[in-house]
C-alpha cells in the first residue's frame, strides 16, 4: 500500500490536462500525479509518496476523502492502472471517477473514517493488505477482516467478466422498442 492522505484530490492532479492530447488509453502511468511527482526540470520530487522506493510496487492506494473529484477524464483511472494501482481505499469517491474506475477494473473501496485512519497509517509504512473481492473483505495482516461493498452489477462485471457494453448491446430489442414509442423531438442531422 501507499498513502496519499490529502483530501479532495481532483483528477487535474491525478493527470494534468496537458497530458490529455493522446488518442489511446495506454502509457499514462508516467504522468500520473505529474505536477506532484516531478520538479519543473522533470526530475522526481523525492518527498512525494509515490516516489519513495518502497512505493514502487504498491498496488493499493489509500487516499483522502472525496478522491477523484472534478473533471470526468477517464485518463485518471487509466493513469492509475498503468502505474500499477489496482485498488483505491478512501472514505468517499467522486461519482464520475468511481464509475470510470469500475469500468476499467480499478476498485474504489469505501471504508469508514476509523478504519481509514488506521489504513492510512499502515499505508504510510507500506504495509500489506489482501483484498478479497468475491467476499468483499479486506484482510489485515493481524488477521482482522473489514467488510466493504462494491455495487452488485459492477462486482458481477469484474468477477464474471461481464462486459457492460456487451450487456447493453444485448438489450437491443428493448432499446428498439423504446425508440419506436418515443419519437425524437430533435435531430442533429
Amino acid at each position: 500500500m501507499v498513502a496519499l492522505p490529502n483530501r479532495d484530490v481532483d483528477t487535474d492532479q491525478i493527470i494534468p490536462a496537458r497530458f490529455l492530447k493522446g488518442t489511446v488509453k495506454t502509457g499514462l502511468g508516467k504522468v500520473l500525479f505529474a505536477d506532484w511527482r516531478y520538479l519543473p526540470d522533470g526530475s522526481p520530487k523525492e518527498d512525494f509518496q509515490l516516489n519513495r522506493p518502497e512505493a514502487a510496487r504498491a498496488r493499493v492506494l489509500v487516499a483522502g476523502d472525496n478522491f477523484g473529484c472534478g473533471s470526468s477524464r477517464e485518463h485518471a483511472p487509466w493513469a492509475l492502472l498503468d502505474y500499477g494501482i489496482r485498488a483505491i481505499i478512501s472514505t468517499s469517491f467522486a461519482d464520475i471517477f468511481q464509475n470510470n474506475a469500475l469500468k476499467n477494473g480499478l476498485l474504489p473501496i469505501v471504508v469508514d473514517p476509523t478504519v481509514h485512519r488506521e489504513l492510512l497509517e499502515m499505508a504510510s509504512k507500506h504495509g500489506e493488505i489482501e483484498i478479497d473481492l468475491p467476499n468483499q473483505i479486506l484482510q489485515l495482516p493481524d488477521g482482522r477482516t473489514i467488510g466493504f461493498t462494491i455495487e452488485g452489477f459492477a462486482r458481477r462485471c469484474l468477477l464474471d467478466g461481464v462486459d457492460q457494453l456487451g450487456y447493453l448491446i444485448g438489450s437491443a430489442d428493448a432499446i428498439s422498442a423504446y425508440e419506436a414509442t418515443h419519437e425524437p423531438r430533435v435531430s442533429t442531422l
Binding site: Q13, A17, S92, K103, L165, S171, I175, P184, T188
Partner: protein, 452 residues
C-alpha cells in the same frame, strides 16, 4: 427508462450526446475495434472546444498534438456519420454553449457528454451529466447507459439578489457552504424565487457548477423563461405549442420530498471569490482569508494550509486588493452574451490595469457575432482587453492560453485546482462583474464600486 432488471442497473435512454475532441478518440476506437456503428448519429453532435486555439482562426496551429487530436475527431465524425461543427464552420463553440443556443437542449431530455460540466444543460429541466470515455462509447453504440438512481437534493434560493451580485455568486456561495463533495451521490434541484427570476443564461451558470459540489447533475424545473428562450431556435420543436404543453407537466410536484435540502437567502449574498485550490474554498470579496485554526477539523486545517502555500497567500489576509496578473473572462460557466454584457458594463469607458493581460473569450461563434453586433468587442478592445475566438481556452489551458508559474488570475471559469489554468498558475474564481472590476484595479476588486 428502457428496462430495469433485478440486480442490474437501469438502462437509461439518452436523448442527446454531445462529443468533443479530448474524451472521444478512445470511444470511437472502441467502436471500430468491435465493428460497431454509431446507433443514432441524429442524436449526436460533435464540436472542437477544449484544444482549439483562440487566436485568429486563419493562423496555423502551433501544437502538433492539437492538430492531430482535431483531425482525429474530424475523421471519426466522417467515418461514423456524426454531425460535426468544425473549427472553421462558424458554428463551433464550447459544447455547453452551443447545445442550448441551437435549441438542442430541451426540457425533459437526458443529455450526456464526456465532460463534467454537462450539468449546465440541467438549467432547462433536462437530466444532464458528465460521463467518462467508456460510457461515451456505450452511448455511441447503444444510445443507452447503465445507471443507478441518484439521491435528490433541493437547493432553495429565496429572496432577491442585490446589485452587483450574480448567478455565479449564488453557486460559489452554495459550494462554499456545502463543500466540494457536499452533493456527491445526489442530483441537485435549484428552486425558490431567486432561481425563478434568473434568466436561462444565469440558470446555466448555476447548474454548470453543480459538479463542483460533487453533484453530477443539477437542474431547474422548466417555466415560461425556459420556453421563451427556446422559441424560434434552430432545433426547437416545430410543433412548439404542443411541446410546451408537455413540458409544463415536467416540474417537480409542489411539496415533493427530497433526500436532502438546504436554503440560501439571496438577499444576504455578496460577490464571491475563491482563495484556495478547490471551488469550495470561497468567501465574500470583502472577507478575509480564513485561518487554519478556525477550521472545524484537522483534515480541513491541513487542506487549507496546503492550499494557502500553493496560492502564496497569508491566513487572515483581506481578499480585496490582492494583486493579480491575468483576468480570464470566458468558459462554459460565464462566456455567454449576458456575461460579456456584464463585464462590458464595468469596462465601458475605462482601461484595464497596464500590468495585466485580460482575455475575453466568447463561448461560441454565435456569442461572438452577437457581442460584436452590439459593440461589446469595441468596449473590450478600447479598455485594453484581448477579444479572442471561442473555445474553452484558459479554463483548462490545453490550447496555449495559460498562466505562467506563479501568476495570479481572476477567472470566470469553474475550477481553481492547482495548475488548472497552467502549471503553477493560481486562480481566483469570480463572476464576470468581479473579473472586470479586478481587471481595472489590477487586484481583486469589488464591482459594486463601478455600478451606475
Amino acid at each position: 427508462m428502457v428496462q430495469a432488471e433485478p440486480e442490474c442497473p437501469e438502462v437509461l435512454y439518452i436523448d442527446l450526446q454531445l462529443v468533443h475532441e479530448v474524451t472521444s478518440p478512445q470511444a470511437f476506437s472502441g467502436l471500430r475495434s468491435r465493428g460497431l456503428r454509431v446507433r443514432r448519429p441524429d442524436r449526436t453532435l460533435a464540436t472542437v472546444d477544449h484544444i482549439i486555439p483562440t487566436h485568429d482562426r486563419s493562423l496555423p496551429i502551433q501544437d502538433p498534438l492539437a492538430v492531430s487530436l482535431m483531425a482525429e475527431l474530424r475523421k471519426n465524425c466522417e467515418e461514423f456519420g456524426v454531425p460535426f461543427h468544425d473549427m472553421t464552420s462558424g458554428r463551433e463553440g464550447i459544447v455547453h454553449v452551443i447545445g442550448p443556443e441551437l435549441g438542442l437542449t430541451q426540457p425533459g431530455m437526458t443529455i450526456v457528454c464526456g465532460d463534467s460540466h454537462t450539468s449546465t444543460h440541467g438549467a432547462f429541466g433536462a437530466l444532464a451529466f458528465g460521463i467518462g470515455s467508456s460510457e461515451v462509447e456505450h452511448v455511441l453504440a447503444t444510445q443507452c447507459l447503465l445507471q443507478s438512481r441518484p439521491k435528490t437534493f433541493e437547493v432553495r434560493v429565496d429572496g432577491q439578489l442585490r446589485p452587483g451580485v450574480s448567478a455565479k455568486d449564488i453557486i460559489l456561495a452554495l459550494i462554499a457552504r456545502i463543500g466540494i463533495g457536499g452533493a456527491t451521490g445526489h442530483t441537485l434541484e435549484y428552486t425558490g424565487s431567486a432561481i425563478r427570476s434568473l434568466s436561462m443564461e444565469e440558470r446555466m451558470t448555476v447548474c454548470n457548477m453543480s459538479i463542483e459540489a460533487g453533484a453530477r447533475a443539477g437542474l431547474v424545473s422548466p417555466d415560461d423563461t425556459t420556453f421563451q428562450y427556446l422559441a424560434g431556435r434552430r432545433f426547437a420543436p416545430r410543433e412548439f405549442d404542443k411541446a410546451v404543453a408537455e413540458w409544463r407537466r415536467l416540474p417537480t410536484d409542489e411539496g415533493a420530498r427530497f433526500h436532502r435540502a438546504i436554503t440560501l437567502d439571496a438577499s444576504s449574498l455578496e460577490p464571491m471569490v475563491t482563495y484556495g485550490t478547490n471551488p469550495g474554498m470561497g468567501a465574500a470579496v470583502t472577507a478575509r482569508i480564513p485561518t487554519p485554526s478556525e477550521m472545524a477539523s484537522a483534515n480541513e486545517r491541513e487542506a487549507l494550509e496546503k492550499a494557502l502555500i500553493y496560492m502564496g497567500l497569508k491566513p487572515g489576509q483581506p481578499l480585496l486588493g490582492q494583486p493579480i496578473d491575468v483576468v480570464f473572462i470566458g468558459s462554459c460557466t460565464n462566456s455567454r452574451l449576458s456575461d460579456l454584457r456584464a463585464a462590458a458594463s464595468v469596462l465601458r469607458g475605462r482601461k484595464v490595469h497596464p500590468r495585466l493581460r485580460v482575455l475575453v473569450v466568447p463561448g461560441s461563434q454565435r456569442v461572438k457575432r452577437d457581442a460584436e453586433s452590439e459593440g461589446l468587442d469595441r468596449i473590450f478592445l478600447e479598455a485594453g482587453c484581448e477579444w479572442r475566438e471561442p473555445g474553452c481556452s484558459m479554463c483548462i489551458a490545453m490550447n496555449g492560453d495559460q498562466l505562467s508559474p506563479g501568476q495570479y488570475a481572476v477567472s470566470t471559469s469553474n475550477r481553481n485546482f492547482e495548475g488548472r489554468q497552467g502549471q503553477g498558475g493560481r486562480t481566483f474564481l469570480a463572476s464576470p462583474l468581479t473579473a472586470a472590476a479586478s481587471a481595472i484595479e489590477g487586484a481583486i476588486a469589488d464591482a459594486r464600486r463601478y455600478l451606475t
